[in-house]
Symmetry: C2
Subunit: 651 residues, 2 copies
């Protein structure tokens, strides 16, 4: 091939030849004018770049639009600069720290000096941003020497940027300029400011320079921006909806969990309703795992440090673990992972190839030290229970086992009405950090790919995202309001079998190493329940609802009949109570509705005579009158079949 | 009443007047000559005394015979002296340390100096003991001064006894002499050596003087003695049977649990079969508790030390707890008790009298530091899970709640075919250590007594055995080979409601203190499973058996039919596997029998044609041929009804 040409490979696997030094924008134009119009940046061989940057070698290319994470990353990065430009216009003495894009939007840390800056000033900045965006200022990249860069900021008295520059290497320093604002920045950026059409500055916070409490505290302005007003409106609505669904608020209201200062932060106490939900989820998974040949085990919550030294969890992850305790002449630690314990159970017996796969499952509680500032309700805690399992199999069994694991995970999330995206995290061939035999890696990645195709999954391959141990599969679920959550990971492991000297006797009578699959569909019971609360907004499907129905007698006269109905429903294995308070029926309905109880069963004269029940469903209102026995059967069916509530199905 | 007379009250509540200074033996004679013949000692106001000691004040008296613990205590105490006499005859230079009675028998720590003493010498000592016992030597008590006592042992060069005497107070020192042997001893003893008819010295061990590793190691001889040879034979048979049932041996053979040095001593890992048994037991209790209005909670395994300082568990029980860990600027500890956590859940809400009783249950794992030498399989561990619950109720509700708790505990142990003895541990009116309002104590003790009568229980009241917190009820179960185990305790608690400032709003709108009942029928899942293994000798009832049936095809030809049968049984919720190995049917039966699988279902030509199954029951052999469907129903019924295995029922 001529040196004048390069070959670019697109996400769909097709390749095209281009002249060397073609820009990303020109590549987009070569495909379609529409794509070029919507292009925000490109990703080439895993790195995001400006559309205007020349491409001079072969590679994998993606044209990033708003619909991709990389596109949004570029968009929000430029939005941070736009915000800085606006602040600079309004507060010429403000000094800027760092201003990166984040998961939802961006922030910038700013030293306003003696000037006060508060909530009331945010709108002014928003307006200025829109005004500046309309000027369609180009983002211009400039290479500068370290000396020039330092001189630029020293002159302006900005000690933050000089602090940053002092750590950079000569030859790598670039500035980006748009309008009247220039900033130390590695990029990439949009072509110009015009795509930024809607802006919302969401929050103000204090932030120590470089996170160091001994440094100066700057003002952090959080914001988000969109290419269309409609998208911002939708986003704000989602935020509003998320607030209503906040698991910390609902968790308290529904008696799911509590936190207690005397016990300690990050250590939730599960209240009766939460315990019921958790036990029900455990039983659901336990049954499904039993069906698929898993064996349950229980291992202690502490172990001699030697165990974690063998696994490498100590001292490697020391900072995220609790301090060891002295016991006799040894040190013990709260279990940070279940795996080493399961490996010891595996090697407790001589295993033959006939015994494999061995699938050990445990609802195993692990402990991680998190900074107290990072703790958040049930979603970020210091002790949590994983729905963990480890599958020990031969290389020949790996493909089937992965298929089984993916199938289980999909089955689980389908039950909750949560669509799943799958990401295959593979090895970066140019990186040498990976453990285990490369031949096995190749085979596993190929097989994972095949399984994903055979199961007809919608998946994305991300090279370089595999762990040191082996390739992995991440499941990203979408909840009822469209938010994404990374849950269960499936991880192939070639390293631990070596470290724990795990073997099996093959049909050749020789010792062989098994391969391990780590997996946990829910991830952690704590975090998954927090997501479920928000996904269902507390309106749990019947099978998960702590109290499934309340029988409401119209007046005291019908209390004993109501109790009879309750007893009958309980005999069906349903969780039911009677409201025998001397309240008006309207009040009883209102209270049951507020407690999010799925069914309200009203009984009075007519119901008692005809052996019927008048049924109300939470959020749906009156469903009509049914024969009591018939309704009991229907209700039991709904619970046993783990049906989704009608309110969530319509989402 | 004249000063010449005293009143003695007997266990049945009757009282009699006697002349002052009457002896226990004379009291026994006043009742019957038979009783006097069998009398070993008396217990008066809680203290055991010689039969010959004069009684000079009113009191509660029990004439102790072999059938009582106090009688056996006396018998074994005298047996220890008899053994020392025998050793003294055979080894005149041997020096004696301490020689107390223990739960089963007695021991004596002896310094044999340069003489060797080993297993081979035990029989010689046994023979000498019987020979000396037949001499009917009287046990004679002598009061000695401290000076005389010291002189006696200094002369004989016995530094152990002088060490002991140096700590005694003048005026309290007594010797007991029988035959040619005299010993420092507080008593009590038998009248003479003649009741000791059968002796077995069971074990030799090293024992440091006063348990101090820096002191001299003495030879500890363990032994047991009986008033009849038949009783010794029965005892030895029980020991033999207990060895066969040893849960450490069976636990390994049946894949119930493992210990691992890398994890640490006293920290069992539950293997799949053990996990299944444990989960089944938990589910059994959970269902029963749900029926009785308990609510399940889950609390973290660590907490800030402040929690245990509030409860008083720290530093009071410091020595039996794990060391605290530093977290942020606080100290945290592995949970030694679940109670404080439950108290915090109770006080998380404002409670009204209408909400009471609140019954919080948890399968809560706690950690206790035990010396590594004290650890023993599953029965003595460092981390264990209690089937714990705390009931918060009003004083008016206490009686009903206690009744409910006793009823639950009896139901539980009945299910396992374990007879229960009940001990009511009450306050000693002369002791002032007790917390809480004495009026409430009186009422609770009266009500506990009433409940025990109303339930028609066979109970024993032990005064002075109550805890500081309140009166308690101990359940002592008997296993299949007659051994006694103390399990579930029910404990009334007046102290923790104060310490945690627990309240409820009464119908008078004022704040009141609830009373707490602590209870745990199994005690700990670990210890209870160890007892169950030994009770059933590993032949678990169907509902608890990890694998309930194995389908055994007569030859490969019937494998697929066998798999069909297995699938059918599984659909009934039963745990069944197929043995498809190409082994002879005899070998398949033998293997299933060895694995203690309750049912072996043999299928061949005839069974396939007629849709029948040929059934063998573990230990019972062939049960005949049944219609497959009919047999499946029977098996399911046996499991669901939690029936005891026929082998254990016949015990």
């Amino acid at each position: 091939m001529s040196e004048e040409f390069i070959t670019l490979t697109f996400p769909d696997g097709t390749s095209r030849q281009y002249h060397k030094n073609i820009t990303g924008l020109e590549v987009a134009e070569s495909i379609s004018q529409g794509l070029a119009r919507n292009a925000l940046s490109i990703t080439i061989n895993g790195s995001i770049r400006d559309l205007s940057q020349p491409i001079n070698s072969d590679g994998k290319i993606t044209i990033n639009t708003w619909d991709s994470e990389d596109g949004q990353y570029t968009f929000w990065h430029s939005s941070a600069h736009l915000m800085a430009e606006a602040v600079h216009e309004l507060y010429p003495d403000a000094k800027f720290g760092i201003g990166p894009p984040i998961e939802n939007g961006f922030y910038y840390d700013i030293d306003f000096g003696d000037q006060s800056f508060g909530q009331d000033q945010l709108e002014q900045v928003e307006k200025k941003m829109i005004e500046l965006a309309r000027q369609k200022s180009r983002f211009q990249k400039k290479n500068v020497s370290k000396e020039e860069a330092l001189a630029h900021y020293t002159e302006r008295g900005n000690e933050y940027k000089t602090d940053l520059i002092s750590e950079l290497e000569e030859g790598t320093i670039t500035f980006y300029e748009q309008g009247n604002f220039i900033d130390l920045c590695r990029g990439p950026h949009l072509q110009d400011t015009s795509p930024i059409k809607a802006v919302k500055l969401t929050k103000l916070a204090g932030a120590y320079w470089r996170g160091d409490v001994n440094s100066k505290q700057l003002t952090r302005i959080y914001g988000i921006a969109f290419p269309k007003q409609k998208l911002l409106d939708e986003y704000l609505q989602q935020v509003e909806e998320a607030k209503k669904r906040d698991h910390k608020k609902l968790g308290k209201e529904l008696g799911i969990y509590m936190m207690d200062n005397m016990v300690g932060p990050g250590l939730p106490l599960w209240l009766p309703n939460g315990t019921l939900i958790r036990r029900t989820l455990e039983q659901f998974l336990r049954e499904e795992q039993k069906r698929r040949g898993y064996q349950e085990v229980i291992t202690p919550h502490i172990a001699n440090l030697n165990l974690y030294k063998t696994s490498g969890h100590y001292p490697y992850y020391k900072d995220s673990q609790f301090n060891p305790m002295e016991v006799d002449d040894d040190e013990y630690m709260l279990k940070p992972m279940n795996c080493p314990h399961h490996h010891r159970i595996y090697s407790n017996e001589l295993r033959s190839y006939r015994d494999l796969p061995v699938r050990l499952a445990e609802f195993g509680t692990v402990y991680r030290y998190e900074q107290s500032g990072e703790l958040n309700g049930l979603s970020r805690v210091r002790g949590f229970t994983q729905d963990d399992a480890h599958i020990y199999c031969t290389h020949d069994q790996l493909k089937d086992e992965i298929k089984n694991v993916i199938d289980l995970t999909q089955f689980v999330f389908n039950t909750f009405g949560m669509p799943v995206d799958i990401r295959l995290s593979f090895r970066d061939d140019n990186d040498e950090k990976y453990g285990g035999d490369m031949e096995y890696w190749e085979r596993a990645q190929k097989e994972i790919n095949e399984v994903a195709d055979e199961l007809g999954l919608d998946y994305k391959i991300v090279e370089g995202e595999a762990s040191f141990y082996g390739p992995k599969i991440d499941f990203i679920i979408r909840d009822a309001i469209g938010r994404k959550w990374q849950l269960g990971t499936v991880q192939v492991d070639y390293v631990m079998p070596e470290r724990f000297d795990l073997t099996y006797i093959g049909s050749d009578n020789d010792k062989h190493r098994p391969v391990i699959i780590h997996r946990a569909p829910f991830g952690s019971m704590e975090r998954f329940v927090s997501i479920l609360i928000e996904h269902f907004a507390g309106d749990f499907p019947l099978w998960l609802a702590p109290l499934q129905a309340k029988v409401l007698p119209i007046s005291d006269e019908f209390n004993s009949h109501a109790e009879k109905c309750t007893a009958q429903l309980k005999s069906y294995g349903l969780r039911v109570e009677t409201d025998t308070r001397s309240e008006k029926i309207g009040a009883k309905i209102r209270d049951a509705e507020n407690s999010k109880i799925p069914y309200m069963l009203i009984v009075g004269e007519r119901e008692r005579e005809n052996d019927t029940v008048s049924v109300r469903r939470h959020k749906l209102g009156d469903l009509g009158t049914f024969q009591f026995r018939e309704f009991s059967e229907t209700m039991k069916y709904e619970a046993v079949k783990r049906m989704l509530p009608p309110s969530s199905q319509s989402n």
